[in-house]
């Protein structure tokens, strides 16, 4: 029960720290500009930490290690793809996007293409991407709380994260969460690098546990001690070599079993709530789809041509998807100018690169110490459970609690970033964009993903993120790339391309969910649609824009000048200032501003 106490303490610490920083950051937040773009005063370093903190979601913190544990080093392409996505953002988008002076992504679309209708479409797509991204974050929070506190129901983590995030966003919008996200990046880095160092030292000191299968040996991992596994969900297990199970209680292949079992090389359908016992030395039967052989697992591209296709479409989706993610782009509006937007992205590359050194390491250790996760298929829990599997006793529990705190920070920072960007879009596009509207939008926006997270079945945490990336890559990515670098883009072309690309990804997503309930018939293309949808969206935009070239904005040359002119020339016009006014500036100036008014009132009353 020790782990419960430590994990409770660390998670409570993170939650309280988040509350405090949100409160601290939002003391002087009182204008629309504070809530939308943190008054555009965030320095490059702080913004970079906030972006990295926002981006390192559950998928990065626990998802990548889980996937590597299951499928080998090919899954490290997620981490590489994410980081190179930021390089693409730096190369093609960062500075011009900031110089456009927009305050949300739909606002950029309107500023560039001059169409209110298109702005509406962009707003709808922003909300769609935000929801697809937010739901797995909330579900991941439930899973994390559930793995460190077994008595906690799944909904508890979801509700806790939602409450913390909503309160912070209500109190200060972008202003509040900037500080929170920057803090949470450092929490996450600490929470992954300290356990990784300690566990590596332990591993180097004591070596692999007795009886374990070497990672380079042929054959699957083996249980190092007698293990009993209880399944939460039904799984399909692939057995490569015949094994004896001393005790099985539950339903296997539709037949009730209580007692010993012999499984020859076969596939076994094991129902939920079945408990399976294995003796030490038994090869681990794995969920279908996992790489069985350790030697194969260690080698990249061992799955042949389909694997190669998957890897390339993953690289493609992440490389282009990052530069269309609305909640990431929203953070770039908070920089003072285009040059600092560039510096920010550069610094993000450094911060992400440092973080991504660790998941692969932890995954390799998990493969040695936690083979039972390959039976249940809950590989996302690998990082969370690794310390207590490697170091029995209090020390392991403390390390586990640190990792749990980091994972919790991951859910909170990503969800708060998503919520701010969604509330910003809804409040400025649906209502009038006052602070009050922003607050109402926050509450309104969070309801749907909260319900969905509670009701939908949780799949691998990374799948939702992959779909959001595909959606972003096939809608906003072409609009940004063409809008920034090509004068010929028209609002008709952009609209048709976005709707087409977006709806194709939506079809793929729905197909995936349906196939998940009706026997996994979906082909690989549906799981990784970007390789098809992105080129389609690009081509559609170009062709339709060429056909409707009379609809080009008349002042396109001036817009291009504004997007690309160096900052000292002073072309940037912040559209939020134009729409909402400067608002009050910070405390000192506000006092100065009040004084003349008081004086005039006094003089008028005396007169």
């Amino acid at each position: 029960m020790g782990i419960n106490v430590w994990a409770c303490v660390s998670i409570a610490f993170i939650v309280l720290g988040t509350f405090y920083l949100g409160y601290y950051g939002s003391r002087t937040a009182n204008t629309t500009r504070d809530f939308l773009v943190a008054r555009r005063r965030v320095s490059a370093h702080q913004n970079a930490a906030a972006i990295a903190g926002e981006f390192l979601s559950a998928a990065s913190f626990i998802g990548i290690a889980g996937l590597v544990l299951k499928n080998g080093p090919d899954e490290l392409w997620y981490a590489i793809g994410f980081t190179s996505g930021y390089l693409a953002l730096l190369l093609f988008v960062a500075a011009p996007l900031r110089r456009s002076g927009a305050y949300t992504l739909p606002d950029f679309v309107e500023a560039r293409l001059g169409s209110r209708g298109l702005r509406g479409i962009a707003a709808v797509i922003t909300v769609a991407i935000g929801y697809i991204y937010l739901i797995p974050q909330l579900q991941g929070a439930g899973l994390t709380l559930n793995s460190v506190l077994p008595w906690a129901p799944d909904w508890l983590g979801i509700v806790v994260v939602t409450i913390v995030v909503v309160v912070n966003v209500l109190s200060g919008g972008m202003r509040a969460i900037t500080l929170v996200q920057a803090f949470q990046y450092w929490v996450k880095l600490f929470a992954i690098c300290v356990p990784a160092f300690v566990l590596c030292v332990v591993f180097a000191g004591s070596g692999a546990p007795a009886g374990s299968q070497s990672l380079s040996a042929d054959g699957s991992p083996v249980f190092t001690q007698d293990t009993t596994v209880t399944l939460d969900q039904s799984v399909k297990l692939r057995v490569e070599r015949a094994i004896w199970l001393p005790e099985v209680h539950g339903v296997v292949n539709g037949v009730r079993v209580d007692g010993k079992a012999y499984w020859g090389p076969s596939e076994q359908e094991v129902a939920a709530k079945t408990s399976l016992s294995f003796t030490a030395g038994t090869p681990v039967p794995m969920v279908a789809g996992a790489v069985q052989d350790n030697a194969d697992w260690l080698r990249p591209q061992s799955g042949g041509l389909p694997d190669l296709f998957n890897t390339y479409s993953l690289i493609f989706a992440t490389f282009l998807g990052i530069l269309g993610l609305p909640h990431v782009l929203a953070r770039f509006y908070t920089n003072p100018d285009g040059r600092s937007a560039r510096r920010t992205t550069l610094h993000v590359l450094l911060l992400l690169g440092t973080f991504y050194l660790f998941p692969g390491l932890l995954a390799a250790l998990s493969r040695i110490y936690e083979p039972q996760l390959l039976v249940t298929g809950k590989t996302d829990a690998a990082v969370l459970l690794l310390p207590s599997a490697m170091i029995p006793g209090v020390f392991g529990q403390v390390l586990g609690a640190i990792i749990a705190a980091g994972a919790f920070a991951a859910f909170m920072s990503t969800s708060s970033g998503l919520l701010v960007s969604l509330a910003g879009v809804v409040s400025t596009d649906v209502s009038r964009g006052r602070v009050r509207d922003f607050r109402w939008s926050t509450v309104f926006v969070v309801l749907a993903p909260l319900l969905a997270a509670l009701l939908l079945r949780s799949s691998d945490v990374s799948l939702g993120v992959g779909m959001a990336l595909a959606m972003a890559a096939s809608t906003f990515c072409p609009v940004l790339m063409l809008g920034i670098w090509w004068r010929g883009l028209t609002w008709v072309g952009a609209g048709v391309g976005m709707v087409l690309g977006g709806s194709m990804v939506a079809v793929a997503l729905i197909g995936n969910i349906v196939s998940g309930y009706t026997g996994n018939w979906a082909p690989a293309v549906l799981q990784q649609p970007a390789l098809i949808t992105v080129p389609v969206a690009f081509l559609t935009m170009i062709i339709v824009s060429k056909a409707t070239s009379r609809r080009r904005p008349e002042d396109v040359n001036r817009i291009m000048l504004r997007l690309h002119a160096p900052d000292p020339l002073g072309f940037t016009r912040d559209r939020d200032v134009l729409r909402f006014g400067e608002g009050q500036t910070d405390g000192r100036h506000r006092r100065l501003a009040i004084r003349p008014r008081l004086r005039s009132r006094r003089s008028s009353s005396s007169a």
Binding site: R299, L346, T354, N557, D567, R599
Partner: protein, 142 residues
């Protein structure tokens, strides 16, 4: 043009806020820090650029083109270096069994090496992009 290179140094021609407020409380003055001597010529250039004479339009086009070329070639470099790895592993499976410092080479290539490379590319790009911008400023700031 010096205004963009030394933004840290506040101009010595600041309007003292306090004394102005004491003497003339009616109107508040706009205090602009760090936009020194160049600002008048820049304002002039801005008007010219906004009016889009053919020369200026050409200047802007060439800036956009130069920036795009840099970005594009950086992206190509990235694809050639990093995105060729899966193909390499696929075509030469034996490559995956090499060892470096007791770790399999692919794990080093996929787990650690891309990040310094990406950062280096980023630094290089930012330098070049800012050089293009300085050139543009010095060109329009006649």
């Amino acid at each position: 043009m010096t205004g963009d290179r030394t933004p840290e140094q506040p101009s010595t021609e600041l309007v003292p806020v306090e004394s102005a407020a004491v003497r003339k409380p009616q109107r508040r003055k706009k205090v602009v820090l760090a936009e020194s001597k160049g600002s008048r010529t820049v304002a002039h250039t801005m008007v010219e650029l906004e009016e889009q004479t053919s020369v200026d339009e050409h200047l802007v086009r060439s800036l956009v083109w130069a920036q795009f070329r840099t970005s594009f070639w950086m992206a190509v470099l990235l694809i050639v270096t990093i995105a060729s790895l899966p193909m390499l592993f696929y075509l030469f499976p034996g490559f995956g069994d090499l060892m470096v410092f007791g770790i399999r080479l692919p794990w080093v290539l996929l787990g650690a090496l891309p990040y310094p490379l990406l950062y280096g590319l980023g630094v290089w790009y930012v330098r070049r992009a800012e050089r293009h911008e300085r050139d543009f400023v010095s060109m329009v700031d006649r």
